[in-house]
């Protein structure tokens, strides 16, 4: 009888020296075509069930990706109970419907209450989402745990409240700075904008962005530091300035994209645009549809132009995070993701997704996940089994390890 051999030769935890460090490149064994089938099934069942299949679809998706993600030769497991996922989905659906109805029937008070409650509860929701996700990620029968309490989550969320305060200040500041409105020629009151007001606005914007970066930094670091493996906490080395630098570089990429695309579009369509503007005059009846499509087109262009910058940011953040985190002194991650190739991949995926009206999306998802995942190598001191054993001795109730999910290989939501 042919009994299988366990971990492949290169991965054998055979070391007798506890200081020996073993590299384990993470591996994805799924394929785009396979996931396309999974996704198509999900979409069709979603249509047939009027969208109520969504929580099952999510679970299948995560299970597909986890089941094909090999960390040191063993797949990840997603163990969330379907019941809980369905419950969460229904709660979300009811809230969304209530909000939509309130917004569309013009019940301003209710809408305002929804927004305020949503903002106030956002950290709590985030915290419980992370707790759920990490707690349900298992590897070799071991679970990860997210230990941050509500107080810690809210403390880390201070930039949110700082942003709210900033905008309130701006609102009242503009009121104080604004001169008396002057009646315009058409009889309407035209507000005047002074230099001081522009300055205040600019200052608020810069501070808001800094706060947003701080928020991202706080959350990411908390996610790693508060994730426990036994008594061993996650290890986190990036500093705030790293994040600020990534954002600045992202801004640079964005401006570059805008410049390049602007020049290209200008050169290619400069003539025809003038032609078009001459024609629009005769298109009176079409104007309504034209405006509608204009809005859609504008949103679409904004997404398109910002895509390289967003991909760049994603890649750099992934890199920074996965190069500098680990599990106490037992394990380290190294990442050699190249931002340039990731941006190129994202652009290719975007173009193909658009050309296929979205049907390329599963392939895109797999290719991006693969590039990110396979750029990461896990370095374990003394072998995987020793690590697992050590972790389990420290905590009895199945607290595990699956940092792979924590800071960027996210799939849910």
């Amino acid at each position: 009888m042919d009994m299988h051999a366990e971990p492949r030769a290169g991965r054998m935890p055979s070391s007798f020296s506890p200081q020996h460090i073993e590299p384990h490149p993470l591996e994805f064994t799924g394929s785009g075509g396979e996931y396309f089938r999974v996704w198509l099934v999900n979409v069709l069942l979603g249509i047939v069930t009027l969208g109520f299949y969504t929580p099952w679809a999510r679970r299948r998706t995560v299970q597909y990706f986890y089941g094909h993600t090999l960390v040191a030769g063993s797949p990840l497991e997603f163990t969330a109970q379907q019941r809980r996922m369905v419950f969460g989905f229904i709660v979300l659906l009811v809230l969304t419907a209530a909000y939509q109805i309130a917004a569309r029937t013009g019940q301003d008070t209710t809408v305002a209450l929804f927004i305020i409650a949503g903002a106030a509860l956002a950290p709590l929701i985030w915290g419980s989402a992370m707790r759920f996700r990490l707690g349900n990620t298992r590897w070799r029968g071991l679970r990860l745990q997210f230990t941050a309490g509500w107080r810690q989550v809210y403390t880390a969320s201070w930039p949110v409240f700082a942003i709210a305060a900033l905008w309130l200040t701006l609102f009242y500041g503009l009121h104080a700075l604004a001169p008396e409105p002057v009646a315009g020629a058409s009889g309407r009151k035209l507000p005047q904008v002074t230099g001081a007001m522009w300055g205040l606005l600019a200052l608020t914007l810069v501070l808001t962005v800094l706060c947003a970066i701080r928020l991202e930094y706080n959350y990411r670091s908390m996610l790693v530091l508060q994730s426990r493996l036994g008594t061993e906490p996650g290890r986190w080395k990036p500093v705030y300035m790293d994040f600020v630098k990534v954002w600045l570089a992202t801004l640079g990429v964005f401006l570059l994209t805008v410049a390049v695309m602007g020049a290209t579009v200008g050169a290619a369509f400069g003539g025809s645009l003038a032609l078009l503007s001459g024609k629009t005059r005769g298109m009176g009846p079409w104007l309504f549809l034209l405006i509608l499509f204009g809005i859609v087109f504008f949103t679409f262009m904004a997404l398109l132009v910002s895509a390289p910058a967003r991909a760049y940011r994603e890649a750099r953040m992934f890199q920074i995070t996965w190069n500098q985190i680990g599990v106490s002194h037992m394990a380290r991650f190294k990442c050699r993701l190249r931002a340039r190739s990731f941006v190129a991949l994202r652009i290719k995926n975007l173009v193909l997704t658009l050309l296929t009206l979205g049907f390329y999306r599963p392939f895109a998802r797999v290719s991006e996940y693969r590039m990110k995942l396979e750029s990461v190598t896990l370095h374990v001191k003394g072998g995987v089994d020793q690590l697992a054993g050590q972790l389990q001795r420290q905590q009895q109730n199945g607290v595990g390890d699956a940092l792979a999910d924590a800071a960027g290989l996210d799939l849910i939501g």
Binding site: R37, V41, P75, R138, W286, L289
Partner: protein
């Protein structure tokens, strides 16, 4: 250091299977070698996984292998989260089976195929998703079902839901919205009417007469009795529109076109009846609700494919509903005019005349340079009937379908429906067809009174 690897022995497998702890049913397939991470010991334990049929489905028994031995562990059907075989032809190199609080089972290599075979042999009933995943036939059936469902959702589901939700919307909200809209339009799109007071009076009398003829209890919204009111404005060309909650606005252009074409007030009365139809059927509120239902519904169904597809679908479907509303309002006008013993043919002439004038206007604009624009503008803003446009054009109906002036809220008028695609993007059905129906006095799509 203990070896993490289960003994790679083929001997122990058969020995175990033949041992006292062997699965009860002797015809069961060979047990599958696996590693059990039970969450207690530091490493995976080598086990043999035997799958046997149970009362609620296959059940799992793990038989320990090796020198340390131990008692077999039994798992009821519900204690195991039976994993899906994503691709039977190409299983992943490792398969993890979730055993809940009792850890997880890891199977490698060709063991995976044997695991699935054993599961099948034990009478495992795969879920619908899994069957679709593995069999093209099932996938095709569900594909057809989902297309059918989308059509049903569009044809019956959304209109039904819109009716139910619209019933809950109070009249007060509609009138508030109407007031707000009219105030905003008065700022830039509309000017005070310059129609002679006598003419206004006459039209108002016709409107009030029609309003008195409105059946007291409309079938769909019991107890919905908005106060119908007519307003005159200048602007937006030849147009009339209904605001929710009972206000109907007529532009000077409409009345002027009618008199220019030698049409009497029965023509305008027909348009007013159409607008009253919009009010009584609460089409504005329905549109708001329908668009909301479509956005949510299609967002859920197609959101994962692409937002472009789902918003595009919602838009096109919303326009189809808009055309249905226009037909409904036409039916209402036919019924109301019939009650009032008024002809509907003049209304048809008026619609065709306006469509033709619009087409000529846009053709003129297209051909002429910008100076013809200003000329046209001057003529448009000039006193009513100043230009001698022939009255006989209405007799020669235009070839291609233009659009109607009688919009409910938006002054959206689109040009020729040359292609079917343009028809999909129109807010109104083709004018020619509408005119023919109005002239005939009945339309096939109208419900019998």
């Amino acid at each position: 250091m203990t070896a993490a690897v289960p003994p790679p022995d083929s001997g122990s497998a058969s020995a175990q299977a033949a041992g006292p702890a062997a699965p009860a049913s002797s015809g069961a397939p060979q047990p599958v070698p696996a590693r059990w991470f039970d969450g207690r010991s530091s490493q995976g334990r080598a086990v043999l996984a035997a799958i046997a049929p149970g009362p609620r489905g296959p059940e799992l028994t793990l038989h320990p292998v090796g020198t340390d031995g131990g008692v077999p562990e039994h798992f009821a059907h519900d204690a195991v989260d039976w994993p899906e075989a994503w691709n039977p032809r190409r299983p992943p190199p490792r398969l993890a089976v979730d055993l809940g609080e009792r850890g997880s089972l890891e199977i490698a290599g060709d063991g995976i195929a044997r695991w699935h075979a054993a599961l099948q042999a034990a009478g495992h009933r795969a879920g619908i998703a899994q069957r679709m995943q593995a069999r093209w036939g099932v996938l095709a059936v569900v594909l057809l079902a989902s297309v059918l469902l989308l059509v049903l959702f569009y044809r019956y589901g959304t209109p039904w839901l819109a009716t139910q939700l619209t019933r809950a919307v109070p009249l007060g909200w509609e009138t508030a919205l109407a007031r707000e809209t009219l105030e905003r339009m008065d700022g830039d799109l509309l000017k005070p009417s310059r129609l002679a007071p006598e003419r206004q009076q006459a039209l108002r009398a016709r409107f009030d007469a029609l309003a008195r003829d409105v059946p007291t209890a409309p079938q769909r919204y019991a107890g919905y009795a908005p106060a119908l009111r007519l307003e005159f404005r200048r602007g937006l060309g030849a147009n009339a529109f209904a605001l929710p909650g009972g206000t109907v606005v007529v532009t000077d252009g409409l009345a002027e076109t009618a008199s220019r074409r030698g049409l009497d007030d029965d023509a305008v009365a027909g348009v007013l009846a159409h607008e009253i139809g919009h009010v009584v059927h609460r089409h504005t509120t329905r549109t708001v609700v329908e668009q909301g239902v479509l956005n949510i519904g299609l967002g859920l169904a197609l959101g994962d494919v692409s937002s472009l597809l789902s918003t595009g679908g919602a838009l096109v479907t919303g326009l189809a509903y808009s055309r249905a509303h226009e037909r409904e309002a036409d039916c209402y006008a036919l019924a109301l005019m019939d009650r009032a013993r008024l002809p509907t043919a003049p209304m048809a002439d008026l619609l065709l005349a306006i469509a033709q004038e619009q087409r000529e206007e846009s053709k003129e604009k297209k051909n002429g340079a910008s100076d013809s624009d200003t000329e046209k503008k001057a003529r448009k803003d000039g006193p009513a009937g100043a230009t001698g446009e022939a009255a006989d054009v209405a007799a020669a109906p235009p070839r291609d379908a233009g659009s109607s002036p009688a919009t409910r809220q938006e002054p959206a008028r689109e040009e020729s429906g040359d292609s079917a695609w343009m028809g999909l993007l129109a807010t109104h059905p083709g004018t020619e067809q509408r005119a023919a129906e109005l002239r005939a006095g009945h339309a096939p799509h109208c419900a019998r009174p």
